[in-house]
């Protein structure tokens, strides 16, 4: 699989480490969220067959986190964004 890095261009997926569903960006507030909410965040996954937004870390490159939109049935990648931009667009400060 080739990941089109927004800054570095096409890179081999081998250079990356995979973390999982990009919903991990939306961590609940540890001070207010209850145990059930945190349990759901940490352990449960939608795990769709089809389009999936996921976190990849460019470990053997510029060490940036990316949000890759990829189809889990065909492995086709349709969108690659910097995780920072995605987090900010969802209202996070960093």
């Amino acid at each position: 699989m080739i990941i089109h890095h927004p800054i570095l261009g096409p890179r081999d997926a081998q250079e990356f480490v995979y973390l999982g569903d990009a919903s991990l960006i939306d961590r609940p507030d540890g001070m207010t969220a209850g145990v059930e909410v945190f349990h759901d965040y940490l352990y449960n996954r939608t795990n769709p067959a089809g389009e999936h937004q996921e976190l990849w870390y460019h470990e053997q490159g510029d060490r940036s986190w990316l949000v890759v939109t990829r189809n889990t049935v065909t492995h086709e990648i349709t969108k690659v964004e910097l995780a920072r931009d995605v987090a900010r667009s969802r209202g996070r400060t960093k």
Binding site: A13, H39, Y43, N44, R45, A49, R70, T72, T74
Partner: protein
């Protein structure tokens, strides 16, 4: 007698026209007491033990494709019970004991071959860990032996013992581990279930669940609605898709695992060998092919095929351990979809829907679990309580901090 030497000769002389299908191909009834979704090893074993050991009737297995077309027919067939943790070891040892009697039990040749499995050791720390695991196994009634470097050398003198990075210092052996002909397991359970009146319904994909007032009523399928008092789900890599019909999100990610077979060779490896440090394991089939594999690809996938980097990685692991295979040609590779759980251990439990039960999260090690999984799931379905060896495989272990994390990797499915 249905199968005999005489029959084979007689059929050979008459163009093999006399063989009959081994099980019926029934249409679905309007309602059953038990519906098992998934005609893989676990689903078929569940139906077989439900009928045979728990005396239940009116059972159907619904399979979206053909029986045994999933992971049960595409794995590397290793059986073992070499686990460390209390939640796991009694269950896998129960499974190994069932394997030992399985062919007599369902009267079918599954080629259960207890050829022994060794896990190679390269450091003192690994030897300590292996000793501890071996002791845990022995305390749960399993067998384990620590092999010295010389003992390993006697078995396989042609291994690369002096690899600069991972010199071989010994191994943990389980002599009762081995391999089994995987499709024959599906066929043996299918035939045994069919003979006891279980309806095996193929080309029947479950597309929805009818749930009323918190209770399961039946399932929607590509062959129409089928009612059921109890529904058990055993669909391996498709677990999240099927349980979504009941509104559930699971502690599971689906990942692809690849396997490899080489051209046929003369006898080279008479047991099973794992080279964990090199992400490689291997055995040799009775036809002579080396059957080997390594890590999962590492990203969510439902594709049933993997990518080239893992093929390269596995080949490198093989070469590091066994330089002698450098000229051996690869015959084929394939992939299957693993239900990777958050702690690397399975789930056999009730759900929040009354009458709906779940069996999954088997990761890349569910083949060896087939008999015990079927038995424990049948126990749960018939008696509404967990089998003694499967009590730890609960959904709420993640909420309660009772994870069964053999590798200590945390909630990161692609590392288990």
């Amino acid at each position: 007698m249905r199968y005999s030497g005489f029959r084979v000769i007689a059929e050979a002389l008459t163009g093999h026209k006399g063989w009959k299908p081994v099980w019926r191909d029934p249409d679905p009834q309007p309602e059953y007491d038990y519906i098992i979704i998934g005609g893989g090893g676990h689903g078929l074993a569940t139906a077989y033990y439900l009928a045979k050991e728990f005396g239940q009737a009116r059972i159907a297995v619904l399979e979206k494709g053909y029986l045994g077309g999933g992971n049960v027919g595409r794995n590397t067939t290793i059986i073992r019970s070499n686990y460390l943790l209390d939640g796991n070891e009694p269950f896998y040892e129960f499974s190994l004991k069932l394997w030992e009697g399985l062919e007599q039990d369902f009267n079918y040749n599954a080629m259960v071959s207890q050829r022994g499995i060794i896990n190679l050791i390269h450091t003192d720390a690994q030897r300590d860990a292996a000793t501890r695991r071996g002791n845990a196994m022995i305390m749960h009634g399993a067998d384990a032996r620590l092999l010295s470097r010389d003992e390993v050398r006697q078995m396989y003198p042609w291994l690369n013992f002096d690899n600069a990075r991972f010199p071989i210092k010994g191994a943990l052996m389980q002599p009762r581990g081995g391999t089994v002909r995987d499709d024959a397991v599906a066929w043996g359970y299918a035939r045994g279930a069919d003979q006891r009146g279980v309806d095996l319904i193929q080309n029947c994909e479950v597309t929805g669940m009818r749930i009323e007032n918190g209770r399961i009523k039946g399932v929607e399928t590509t062959r129409g609605y089928i009612g059921a008092k109890k529904v058990g789900v055993a669909v391996a890599g498709s677990s999240s898709k099927v349980m979504a019909h009941a509104g559930m999100r699971l502690p599971i990610e689906s990942h692809v695992l690849q396997a490899f077979v080489s051209e046929g060779l003369k006898p080279l490896i008479d047991g099973v060998m794992t080279f964990g440090a090199g992400h490689f394991y291997v055995s040799q089939s009775d036809k002579g092919g080396l059957v080997f594999g390594g890590d999962i690809d590492g990203y969510n996938s439902y594709a049933q095929r993997g990518n080239l980097p893992v093929i390269e990685d596995v080949a490198e692991g093989g070469m590091a351990l066994m330089p002698a295979i450098g000229r051996v040609r690869l015959l084929r590779t394939w992939g299957g979809i693993m239900d990777m759980s958050m702690d690397g251990s399975p789930i056999i439990d009730k759900t929040h829907v009354e009458g709906l039960y779940f069996n999954g999260g088997w990761c890349y090690g569910g083949f060896k679990a087939t008999p015990a999984s079927g038995w424990a799931f049948a126990h749960l379905l018939a008696k509404d309580e967990s089998h003694i060896t499967a009590k730890a495989y609960r959904f709420d272990r993640f909420l309660k901090g009772l994870m069964i994390d053999e590798k200590g990797q945390g909630a990161q499915p692609n590392l288990h």
